[in-house]
């Protein structure tokens, strides 16, 4: 599967798609980009009068690019409407704020993919190349029809 096909297979849509482009993917990891548009609705409330991208949204962006895109690549064409995907754990560290309009790059490295569970270490960088957040995210990707 190539990067475009993986993007097409993602089970997300607006307003909860946090992948613009997948730059690289292979058996060991993935790399992709996303730009947080200034008109995204959560900026109105996080925080009042001081818009900053919520950590949970950064985590979601890391998971969609780093874990889900990689997972779809690893099950190699077996991912479809019947496939199930679920986040099972995340442990993140946030180092810098991400403001409205910022573009981020997410990279992931596979720790293991066994028994349908994919565990990855992920990193997010801003456009200056500074580390924004990092952590470990795991999920179950089940391509069986069951």
């Amino acid at each position: 599967m190539n990067t475009d096909e993986i993007i097409q297979s993602l089970p997300y849509s607006e307003p909860f798609l946090f992948v613009d482009e997948l730059l690289e993917v292979d058996a060991e990891g993935a790399k992709g980009v996303y730009t947080f548009r200034s008109d995204m609705p959560f900026y109105e409330g996080h925080f009042k009068g001081n818009p900053i991208t919520p950590g949970v949204i950064l985590t979601e962006c890391c998971a969609q690019i780093g874990l889900v895109c990689l997972g779809i690549y690893l099950v190699d064409g077996q991912f479809d409407q019947n496939s199930k995907i679920a986040l099972t754990s995340s442990e993140m560290e946030f180092l810098l704020p991400v403001f409205p309009g910022e573009k981020v790059i997410v990279t992931s490295k596979k720790v293991y993919f066994r028994f349908h569970k994919l565990k990855c270490s992920v990193k997010m960088f801003n456009e200056k190349g500074e580390l924004v957040c990092r952590g470990t995210i795991s999920g179950i990707i089940n391509s069986d029809d069951a």
Binding site: T88, R114, F115, K117, I140
Partner: protein, 79 residues
């Protein structure tokens, strides 16, 4: 009983707060009695592989409902 003790040590690390290590018995069901979620069960299997120097397959995972199921799998593979 040595294998049981080694397995118990692994399982203990993944027990939720409300389950005590002395509740781990031969007949304990991992998910239903020890409240271990299926994602953590994968981590238990990977630790079992490292500890006992064996490799488990999907079928082994499917058949691993209780502590004694796990011990049977371990004993068959180690032998």
């Amino acid at each position: 009983m040595e294998n049981f003790e080694r397995l118990k040590e692994i399982v203990t690390q993944y027990l939720p707060d409300d389950v005590d290590a002395n509740q781990i018995k031969m007949e304990s069901n991992f998910t239903q009695e020890l409240n271990i979620n299926s994602a953590n069960l994968v981590d238990i299997v990977l630790d079992v592989e490292d500890t006992f120097d064996i490799q488990l397959e999907n079928e082994d995972m499917d058949g691993m409902q209780t502590v004694s199921d796990a011990l049977k799998i371990i004993e068959n593979k180690v032998a």
